[in-house]
Symmetry: C2
Subunit: 313 residues, 2 copies
Amino acid sequence: MTKPIFEKLALIGSGLIGSSIAHAARAQGVVRTIVATARSEKTRQRVKELGFADEVAADNIAAVKDADLVIVCIPVGQSGAVAQEIGPHLKAGAIVSDVGSVKGSVLRDMAPFLPKNVHFVPAHPVAGTENSGPDSGFAELFVNRWCILTPPADADAAAVERLALFWRTLGAKVESMSAEHHDLVLAITSHVPHLIAYTIVGTADELGEVTQSEVLQFSAGGFRDFTRIAASDPTMWRDVFLANREAVLEMLGRFNEDLSALTRAMRSGDGDVLFEHFTRTRAIRRGIVQIGQDSAAPDFGRTHPTLTEAKKD
Amino acid sequence: MTKPIFEKLALIGSGLIGSSIAHAARAQGVVRTIVATARSEKTRQRVKELGFADEVAADNIAAVKDADLVIVCIPVGQSGAVAQEIGPHLKAGAIVSDVGSVKGSVLRDMAPFLPKNVHFVPAHPVAGTENSGPDSGFAELFVNRWCILTPPADADAAAVERLALFWRTLGAKVESMSAEHHDLVLAITSHVPHLIAYTIVGTADELGEVTQSEVLQFSAGGFRDFTRIAASDPTMWRDVFLANREAVLEMLGRFNEDLSALTRAMRSGDGDVLFEHFTRTRAIRRGIVQIGQDSAAPDFGRTHPTLTEAKKD
C-alpha cells in the first residue's frame, strides 16, 4: 500500500471511468476516502451495492466539500455546468481535474467558474472499453495506458506533479501537452476512428440487398471489430464530436483524401499502390505491439472453442 | 475421430488458411493423407518442420494427382493460373474448392480450366487473423465461424454436401449462396471495413503535426483496433480489392454518403442526429455477441496486467 496522496477524493460521476478510478485508488490506498456522485437514484443505489466508494452523494456541492482532489467524470458537454455548480464550494488548495476526451472545450468551459485558490489540471486517461455505467469499472483499466495532462500555462508545478503521481499510482504513464495539441492527437488516434466505425456500422445496418442477419453472421470478416467501437457510450461520443469538431473535421479531410487515393488505385487496377500501402500499415501494428499498447496475440487474443466443443449443426 | 470423408487432400498453398485446414482436418481425422504445396523452398522446409502435412510438394501438378479433394489456398489473383496448371491433372470425380474472399472472380478465372469430370465448389471460410504464413495456422480457426459455399447452378448436390460435411467437421457452420451475393455481403462485412482501416492507419502515419510515436502511444483510444485489420496480408488484400472492385465501390459509395451525413450533423452541432445514430449502432454489437460471432467480454477480452505488475516510471 502507498501512503495516501490525497485525503478525500470526490468523483463527480460514477460511470466506467469514475468507478474504475475508485476501484484503482482504493486498491492502491492512494486516497483516504472516496465520495462518488450519480444523478439518478437508481445509479446511486447501484454504486452503494458495488461498494467502491465510501460515500455516495446526489449532491455535487456536498460531495466536493473538503475534498482535496475533485475529478469530474462525466460527458464533456456537461463540464461547464458542473464547474459552475461546484466552483464556489471547493476547498482552498484543492486540485480539480477531469477525464474528458476533449481538452480545449473543458478548459474553456470549466476554467471561468473555478476560483483562483484551486488548482485546475485537466486530464485524459486514454483507456476504456465499450461498456459504460458503474458496473463496468475495474481497477486495472489504466495499467500501462497513458494519462495526458493539459495543465494551463500558469499551473502550479507541485499540483501537476501530485496529480501525475496519483495517476502513476493507478498504473498509468503520464505525459503533459497543450490542450490544443491533445485535441489534434486524439482526433486522429481516437475520434476519427470512432466516427468511421460508427458510420460503417450504420451503413451495414441500412442496406437493402444484404440482410441484417447476414451482416451479423459474417461479421468475423472484419466488421465485428468495428462494432465494438461503435458500441461506445452514445452521450459521451456525441459530446466529443461536438466539442472537438474543428480537429475532427481537419483529420477527416485527410482521411477522405487518402480514401480517394486508394479508391482510385482500386478502380484503375493499380495493385502496386495498394500493395505498398498495405505493407506500410502492417508495420504500424508491429510498432504498437512493441511498445506494449496492444497484445501480440493474433486477433486481439480472442479465444477459440476447441474442435470438440464445437456444436455440430 | 470421424471416419475419413476424403482419402487424399491436396492443399495448394500453406499459409494461414491452408495450414489451419491441415491442422483441423488432421485433428478430426477427416482425411487420410494431406499433401501441401508451397512455392518457396524456405516455406516448404518450414512446413516440413511444422509437420501438419504428410507430404510437402513444390509441384502443384504432382500434389493434385489422385487427390479427391483439392483446396486452393492462395491469393485470389493467382487462382486462374493455378486452375490452368492443375486442370489437366485432376482425378476424375475430385472436388476442387478454394478459400478466396471473392467468389465471382474465382468462378470466372478457374472454371474455364477445370475439366467436366471434376466438381468445382468454391468456398470461403469467413475466419482469419492478421497473421499469415504456415506458422500462423491453428486447428480451431474455423470453429463457430461460417463457411460460405458458392456452387455453380449445375453443381452436383452430393459433392456440395460432401464439402459441406468436411467444413462442418472442421467446426464451421455452412451456408450456400450465389457468388454475386457473396461478393456484395463480404464487401460490406469485410472488404470496405478493411479498406477504411488501411486508409486511417495510413493517414495517421503521414501526419506532420502529430508524431508517429504519439500515434502509437495513444492508440488505445480506438486507433489500435484498426491497426490489427490494417496488418492483414498485403498480397491477399491487394487481390481482394482488385477482384471485387465493383461491389466494394458500390458499398464505399454508401459509406461515403453516411459519413457525409454524420459530418454535417457534427459541423452544424446537431447532437440529436449523432446520439440517435450511436444508439442504433450500439444495438448491432449486441446482436453479434448474441449469435456467438464475438465475445461479450469488454475490449475483446483483452487482458490487463494487475496493478502490482504495473511498471512505475
